[in-house]
Structures are given as structure tokens and as C-alpha cells.
Symmetry: C2
DNA sequence: CAGTGGTCTAGACCACCAG
DNA sequence: TGGTGGTCTAGACCACTGA
């Protein structure tokens, strides 16, 4: 049951570190999120108002505000002018993030393996792909096709095209780290992506590789990812066994 | 081609209205977004730095910063410390928002119709649904099932459960306005939702209603939406013809 | 009416990047 | 070294809510 009076678990915020490179608002947001996830703040609880919180934490109001807003954006709190800030009644949140399948599975502590099916430079990538990458029709691009398994069972086929300069990413590297992690270690910072999630029937080849019947339902995702200079760095066209994978997210109105 | 020198289309910002109820940062963000979408700011262009912009617009830096950040969050700009702010090279953006299918189609100027298949209070909703709504196993809930068509062709089956108090939403209202619009006109402000997008084969009934073969691939979406007090207000379980619908979104790294 | 969040200001210092 | 965005402060006024 939610408490009636406003709540603030002050004792959880004694460790704020002004010398840390982690911003204060992020430290506050992380602790606040922890309090909600572990039940210290119960669903429906109303938070102390932000001015009072700022005073107690010896922080400025904008800093506290930024922290609270970050937790709101994750879908754990709702705010109303004139009313206050409350913990959401029911949450199974998964913020919308620019993550890789590899890291998603890693976080879920799943035993995953990757088999590289294709790995090389091609000059005949589909026009749809070269256009998204911002290169010429017949310019060389790096093509990659992988089979992702969990606990030995094939789960997804990952088809990617990248600018040719990334063709030096090796097969062993891809088998141990995932694509995004390899890009990251080469200094690529992914910032924006457009994606489209759909469904279709499996082709013969896909069905064979995923252990399904031809025409069986597949979940599909097409993504174009851009780095911090706004250049398209990756075009991915993936398909997933729908009994083994789904896209979860939390949406927050502004 | 992107220009070399920093750019700022000052003439587009002459209409800022300090008396308007629309926040200044939102006015600036909207104009900035317009400049990018209509090509006034070209892909790759670098923006004037935010301090200079603030001076030119006679606004404070935090206000300008908030405006720019909003456009970044939409995936139209990328920022790097020490470098500056640039227009993304390629964009087909669709920010992740808490929208209804009805409004999505409306915005796309598609001719849509709705047929109500089920409309009534039930005491035997699936446990999965009552749990998400936060009501007892056999408490009455409002059950709704609709067929959504575009240009007369069936596209999706929308199955929803709501708290019983919403059972007075009429069939004609649902045929003309969509569920979220009806909730909104009753004062419900949706703030947060959790959703899961997947795929599966069509049941016989679904196939029949959507004009498909049984077992044909369907795109599915299950959503729990909460209002501004954090209470679960709607549980939806929808399925879509994958040749007629897909989920598009833009993701931005923080 | 008192209390809440929403907006806005005018500074300050720092971390990072390019030349 | 100079310029950029990232963080933080200490205030102010307003809009909306509920009693």
C-alpha cells in the first residue's frame, strides 16, 4: 500500500560524491531508481517535493530536477503539476535504448554463441542498403551474416552491411564480442538509429538455419545506426524466432 | 553538401512569443526541427555554438540548451563536446512516442474504419490481464475487441481490457474516435506504457477476420498503459497483418 | 489559499577536442 | 590554447491543483 505522507529515503543518499566524474544528477537518479526497484519506495508512494529534496541533499533545484526527470523518463515515476511525484503502480520497465542483441542477451545472463555465415567485402549490396549507408550503388561495402544461438539453439540471423573500412573486424572478434562492442572498441560511438520492426514468413534458407518450416512466422528488425558525427555506420536486417525473442520497451509521454 | 562554417538561420526565429503559453524552448525546438526537415539546415551542417545562439535570440543558455536537446532526442542532431552540434546525415525519424494506432493512421492520412467485435463487461478475463490491471482475478473488467481496416481492407485485431468504469464508452464512440482519444476526452492522461512486440502464426479466427491462411505470420503487440497517477488503465493485445503494418521508431543514445 | 511542478535567468567552472 | 558542450548554482516568477 502506498503511504499517505510524502516520502524520501534520505539515508540512501549519504554517499553522493562531488569529486566523482559521474554527474551528481546521475548519482541521485541511480539511487532513486534503486529505491523503487527494491521496494524502499512502494508503488503509489508520493515523493517529497523537489525543493525540499534539494535542501536536504544540499543540491540545487535544477540538479535534483534533472535526476527526477531521468527516472520519470524510465517510466518509474509520474509527475503532475500541483500534485506531486508518485511511484508508478506497476512497472516492468525496459527503457527504449540503442542496444545490441549481444549486450541484451549478455545482461540476461544467457549462454549465447555466434557463428559467422558470411564475412567479406561486396560491390553488389542491395540499393536499399547502399543508399542508407550513403555510398554509391557499386561502392564496396562490408557484408556480414551471423547466426546467433542461445544454449546452442539457433535464435536469429543477423545480416549487416558496414562501410568497407570496417572489413578488418575478424571472425574471432565477432564470435566473442558482438558487432557493437567491436565498433565501440574501434572508437565508433553510436548515437542515433532508425528501426522498423515487422514480421514475415521464413525463406527456405532461414527456415533451415533456424530449425523451422519454410513460411513459419519470423520477427524482423531493420536498423540504420549513425555515429556521433551523424554518419550512417551500420545497416542491419535481422530476423528472429518469435518463440525465442521479442522486443520489449517502455514508452513515456512528454 | 554540409557547409564548413557554423550555421544559424536567425531569420527563422523572429517570431518567438514570450506571452505564449507554449514554452520558449519548445518554440525554438519546433523551428529548429522545421529548418532541418525542410532542408534550410542541410545534413552534416554544424550549428552555431549554444552560447552564441542564446545571445542572438536573447534567451538564456539553459533555455537554448533545452531546445537543442529536444531536437537531439528526436534523432535529428548529434552533439559532441569540444566539437559542436551537427545535423544528422540521414534521417527518417519517428520518435518513440506513446501513440495510438488510430492517431498514427490519422496522421498518415489513411482512410480507416473500425468494427467493434466485442464490447462488454466480463468477470473471466485472463489472469495475465487482471494482474496487469491491478484488479482481482474475478473482478469485472471492460473487454473490447475491434477490427481495424484501412481502405476497407482488414489490417489489425485490437483486443483491450480496461477497468470496468470505462464500460460506458459506446460502440459509436469507438467507431469514430479510437480508444485513446475516448480515454483522453474522459480526462485520462496516459503517461507511461510497457509494450512487447513479437510475432506468431494466426489462429483460425484471426486468419478468417484478416483474410489470411491459418498459421500465416502476424505481428503482435501487447501493451499496458498507465495514467498520470501511475495506475494501469489499459491492457491491449493486438495483432497486425505484417504486409500492412510495421513499428518504426528512432532510438537515441543518452 | 498554500503547495506543487514548469519555466526562465545569469552567471560559474570543468572536460574534452582541435589546431 | 581557444572553443565547444557538460555540469552546477541560487535565485525568480508562473500555472495548476486541492482543500
Amino acid at each position: 500500500m502506498p503511504r499517505d505522507a510524502p516520502v524520501w529515503p534520505a539515508d540512501r543518499f549519504v554517499d553522493l560524491d562531488r569529486t566523482s566524474p559521474v554527474p551528481l544528477y546521475h548519482q541521485v537518479a541511480a539511487i532513486l531508481e534503486g529505491c523503487i526497484r527494491d521496494g524502499t519506495l512502494a508503488p503509489g508512494d508520493r515523493l517529497e517535493n523537489e525543493i525540499e529534496v534539494a535542501r536536504r541533499l544540499n543540491l540545487s533545484r535544477p540538479t535534483v530536477r534533472r535526476a527526477i526527470q531521468d527516472v520519470v523518463d524510465k517510466g518509474l515515476l509520474v509527475r503532475r503539476r500541483g500534485i506531486g511525484t508518485q511511484v508508478v503502480r506497476s512497472f516492468v520497465t525496459r527503457p527504449v535504448e540503442l542496444t545490441s542483441l549481444y549486450d541484451d542477451l549478455d545482461r540476461a545472463h544467457v549462454r549465447q554463441t555466434t557463428r559467422v555465415l558470411e564475412h567479406g567485402v561486396t560491390t553488389s549490396a542491395p540499393a536499399e542498403v547502399t543508399e542508407r549507408l550513403g555510398v554509391g550503388d557499386e561502392d564496396p561495402v562490408f557484408h556480414l551474416r551471423r547466426l546467433r544461438c542461445i544454449d546452442g539453439a539457433p535464435m536469429a540471423i543477423l545480416d549487416n552491411h558496414l562501410p568497407a573500412e570496417f572489413a578488418d573486424i575478424t571472425i574471432p572478434e565477432l564470435e566473442t564480442g558482438g558487432l557493437y562492442r567491436n565498433l565501440s572498441s574501434r572508437g565508433v560511438v553510436l548515437k542515433v538509429a532508425n528501426q522498423r520492426i515487422g514480421a514475415r514468413g521464413a525463406t527456405d534458407d532461414e527456415a533451415h538455419r533456424l530449425g523451422l518450416e519454410p513460411g513459419a512466422p519470423l520477427l524482423t528488425m531493420a536498423r540504420t545506426a549513425m555515429d556521433d558525427s551523424g554518419r550512417a555506420v551500420e545497416v542491419g536486417r535481422h530476423c528472429y524466432r518469435p518463440d525465442m525473442y521479442a522486443f520489449e520497451s517502455t514508452l513515456v509521454a512528454r
